[in-house]
Every structure is written in structure tokens, then in C-alpha cells.
């Protein structure tokens, strides 16, 4: 029962954030130079005067600012995110149909980064200053400095153009008509490079974090106590240190998860991955600000949900968090 109350409390505190984003969006629209309607219509040269008028009426742009704001809020709340003339479709449906590929990419990348990062960090910390620690630290340092889009391009050069092992772009092999497991395998082959490009930076981050966290925990008093009880070093690491060391990593991993969405814009562009990232890139090219703002809004909502999930996980892991 306390858990349900905590969830309710967290949801309530999440609402101001969503509201804040809507406010931010509204401000950004009006910050843009030019008439808001032309901003919302984008640079679609075929915007007729009738269309612009309809747009003005829909967004209440002929009304005082306060009314406009309320209209905007109500639109957003109903997920009525507007219409993209360039793409000839509702913005909401545009985004939703591309949610699938992007989610697949993000989950794969995030899962890999977290899992592998934690393992590598642990391996590095337990073999402190040994060769395996130095190698992992070196790889982390380099990976942390590598731009994701460039890594993607280099991977294409080496693995697609050079070795021909993996496809250069796309979600699956067009026109091949794969079904079932063959389709899964095909998508997986297309997923490898984009996922690695997106994940590498965060993998390095989590590895460094985990390493530092484990090293910090091994210096704690309770580790000495465990030794004084006659516990083996291995069980001290797995039974005591590990869970304590994971806590700060979980927190930060949650915060960073949101940044993966931004990273996916460049990675999807490089690999022609049919997700929200390429949608955003196209919107940029055509200066379709309305679509961009909608993507911004959706991403922020996604982050809020992820943060909530992370909070829940943290509360379950740490008994000191009283709920």
C-alpha cells in the first residue's frame, strides 16, 4: 500500500516537469523569428494562404497570448501535436509509427551499455592496476572521446564497404520478404552497427563509474568487518560490495538514458534507421519546427517515464529509502 502511495506521489511530481516542457515549447515557438504560423507551417513552400489561415485559427494565433497558451496546452494534453504538411500526415501518427524501430535501437544500445559497462567496470576494479584494468581503462577513455556518428561511419567503411560483413543501412533488407526467424536475424544484422555506435560512449561511462564505485566500496568499513568474520574475498565482492556499488550507477544510468534519444538522432541518420531520429533530421532539413517540438515533447515524456522506473528500482534496491 505504501508502494502505491509512493508511485502516486512520484507521478504527481512528474506532472510539473511535463507542464514545464509544454511551457518551454510554447516559449520556443514564440522565440523563433517570424510569425508563429509560418514557424509552425515549416518551410513547406506549398503552404497556401488558406492553410495558413486554418493554422492560425487552429492554434488560436489570432487571439491574445494567454488564450493561445491554453489552446496549446489543451492540444498537447490530447496529444494533438499538429500536422506536418511536408510529410502529409498527423505529427502524432508520424511519431508513433516510428517509435518501434527507435525503441528497439535504444533498448538494445542501453541494455548493452549498462550490462557490459557494469561487468567491465567490475573486472577492472577487481584487477586494479593490473593489465586488464589498464586495457579497460584505456578503451573507456578512447570510447568516451569518440563521436557516435563518426564511429558509425568508420564501422560502415570497415565492416560494410571493406569486409562486406554487415549491411550499410536500413532496418532490414528491402524486398527480401523475410518471415519469422529469418526476419529477426535480418533485423539483427542491421541493428548491430547502429547499436554499437550509440552504446559505446555510454558503455565507457558506466564502466568508469562502476570501477570507481567498486573501488570506493572496497575501502569501506563493512568490508573490513566481513573480512574479520572470515569471509572469502570473492564472496565479499559478490555478496557485499556489488550491490552497494551498483546503487550510484543505477541512479546515473537512469539520468543518462534520456540522452540516448538525442544520440539516436545522429546515429539513425548515419544508418538510415527508420526511427524518430531520421524523422527529426528530415524535420531539421525542412525547418519543420512543429515536428521537432513534438519530438522534443515526446522524448521528454519518455525520459520522465524512464526516471520514474529508475526511482522505483532504486527504492527496491536500497532499504534506506523510506517510502
Amino acid at each position: 500500500m505504501r508502494f502505491a502511495r509512493y508511485m502516486g506521489y512520484r507521478l504527481v511530481t512528474a506532472l510539473p516537469v511535463i507542464f514545464g516542457i509544454i511551457v518551454l515549447n510554447f516559449l520556443l515557438i514564440h522565440l523563433a523569428p517570424g510569425d508563429a504560423a509560418s514557424v509552425l507551417a515549416g518551410e513547406s513552400g506549398a503552404a497556401t494562404p488558406e492553410y495558413m489561415d486554418a493554422l492560425r485559427h487552429k492554434f488560436g494565433l489570432d487571439q491574445p497570448l494567454g488564450m493561445q497558451f491554453l489552446t496549446y496546452v489543451s492540444n498537447m494534453a490530447h496529444f494533438n501535436l499538429g500536422y506536418s504538411y511536408r510529410n502529409d500526415a498527423d505529427v502524432s501518427s508520424l511519431i508513433f509509427e516510428r517509435l518501434g524501430p527507435t525503441s528497439l535501437l535504444m533498448l538494445t544500445a542501453f541494455g548493452t551499455a549498462v550490462a557490459l559497462g557494469i561487468i567491465l567496470g567490475l573486472v577492472a576494479a577487481t584487477g586494479r592496476n593490473s593489465w586488464r584494468d589498464n586495457i579497460i581503462s584505456l578503451i573507456s577513455l578512447v570510447a568516451y572521446a569518440t563521436p557516435g556518428f563518426w564511429l558509425g561511419l568508420m564501422m560502415i567503411v570497415i565492416f560494410s564497404i571493406g569486409l562486406g560483413w554487415l549491411p550499410t543501412s536500413g532496418f532490414d533488407t528491402v524486398g527480401a520478404g523475410h518471415e519469422g526467424w529469418a526476419e529477426v536475424w535480418d533485423v539483427a544484422r542491421h541493428l548491430v552497427m547502429p547499436a554499437v555506435s550509440l552504446a559505446l560512449f555510454y558503455l565507457a561511462l558506466y564502466a568508469r563509474l562502476m570501477r570507481a564505485s567498486v573501488l570506493e566500496q572496497t575501502g569501506m568499513d563493512y568490508v573490513t568487518t566481513a573480512r574479520a568474520k572470515g569471509q572469502t574475498e570473492r564472496r565479499i565482492m559478490t555478496g557485499h560490495v556489488l550491490r552497494n556499488a551498483l546503487l550510484p550507477v543505477v541512479t546515473i544510468a537512469g539520468v543518462q538514458a534520456g540522452n540516448l534519444i538525442g544520440g539516436s538522432i545522429v546515429v539513425e541518420t548515419v544508418f538510415g534507421w527508420p526511427g524518430i531520429g531520421t524523422l527529426a533530421f528530415n524535420a531539421l532539413q525542412s525547418r519543420d519546427l512543429n515536428l521537432l517540438l513534438a519530438i522534443f515533447f515526446m522524448s521528454a515524456c519518455l525520459i520522465v517515464i524512464i526516471n520514474l522506473a529508475v526511482d522505483v528500482i532504486y527504492v527496491m534496491l536500497d532499504p534506506r529509502m523510506e517510502i
Partner: protein, 275 residues
Amino acid sequence: MGHGLARFARNRMALFGAAVLLCLLLLVMLTPVIYPDDPFKLAGPALQPPGRRFLLGTDTLGRDVAAEIAYGARTSLIIGVGATLAAIVFGAVAGGVAGYYRGRTETVLMRITEFFQTIPAFIFALLIVAILSPSVSSEIIAIAAVSWPSIARLVRGEFVALGGREFVQACAGLGASDARIIFNHMLPNCASSIIAVGSLLIGTAILLEAGLAFLGLGDPNVMSWGLIISAGRAVLRSAWWICTFPGIAILLTVLGINLIGDGLNEALNPRLRER
């Protein structure tokens, strides 16, 4: 301070980073001498592979890739350092005020900080640049706008910790004004943390700038590493060098700066090196 620099010098990785940065600064300073022509101008035949005449080859229009990279270095450094300084100033003020005055001021400021940390950073930066029209200054504003929250949280945490320390209370007991306590006592004691985090922020800023330029949001009047890479995408199959070398430049620069940042952190905030 002398202590710290000595420790820094003993750290091999940090020295390597310093060496890289030194080379970069030299390059930036000597660029007008080595490559006196406008890098946007055509220098030779298009799509030349790296050779004797063009060390790193030429791009789709026949521009010298090496010259482009040299001029791009300046852009990255200006935007990287500029954005970071702006983020530090803004973040330190926000975090400092929150951490010093506590109470409702702190709650409000921290909620705002958390908000800006929650929203997707790259997309937000992208939006700002798109709306303000791509230019060096809009890029600096955009990157600063997504970087300041981490500084604010750091400074606020330090100020809260310091506020409980007895020497700060002693100063208040002597009758010191808020300004005196903040500037003479609290900020100097946070300086090393801010420097360490700030230097890592420069690396992130450069990566962000490269990403923005890659997407076509860079200042059209200046050369940028991300711009070179995006231009080279179309001919990736035949002219791989156009994309490769600018990326290596980004990597080395960010790596060097990160190593310096790590070294500074080790030197200024030493932890026990036992066990």
C-alpha cells in the same frame, strides 16, 4: 597549488593529454601561417586521396582536407571553451545561491536545475540553434544551456557541505557579510572541484558541437569538423579519408582534454592511494 601541479606532472596520461592540447594550440596559432588561404576555397582537384601534395587529401569540391581540419580546430576550441565558461558562470551562480541560502530558494532553483537536466539535452540544443539561426554564438548559448545543470548541482552540493563546516560558521560569527563568506571562503574551497568537472565539460561541449555541425546546424561561415564529416558522407565508399581524419581530430582533442581533466582531478582532489 604547487603541490597539485607536481602531482599532475607525475601522471603520465595527464601529460600526454597536455601534450595533445599543446599541439592543438600550436596548430591553431600557426594555421594562418601554414594554410594562409581560406579553407572554403578550392585548392586542387576533387577527391584526391592523401598524398604528397595534400597530406590528408581533398574533398568533393577540391578543398584541402588538412586546411579544413586546421581551421576547424579553432571553431571547436572557441565553442567548446566558450560554452563551458558560460555554463560554469551560470551554473556556479545558480548552485551557489541555492546552496548558500537554502530554504525555498534552494528548492526552487534545484527544481529548475533538475528540469533542465531531465529534458533531452541534444534535442534541446538543436532546437535552440535552429530557432536562433546557426552561428557560433547560438551554438555557444545552446551548449551552455544544456551543460550548466551539472555545474549547478556540483556547486550547490559543495556549498551545502561547506555551510555546515565550522570555519564557515566561525566567519559568520565574526560578522562577515554573505559576499565575503561566499567569495573569500566558500568558492576558493570549491575551485578544484569546479575545475575538474569543468575540464571534462569542455570535451562534452566539443562533441556536442561536432554533432550539431554534422546535422547541418553549424555556423555556415566557419569551418567545422562535423561539417567536413557530413560533407564526406556522400562519397564514403570512394573517398573514405574525408570522413576519417576530422573524426580522428575530434577523438584526439576530446581525449587529450579528458586526460587533462582526469589528471587535474587526481591532483587537486587526492584520495588515499593505499590498498
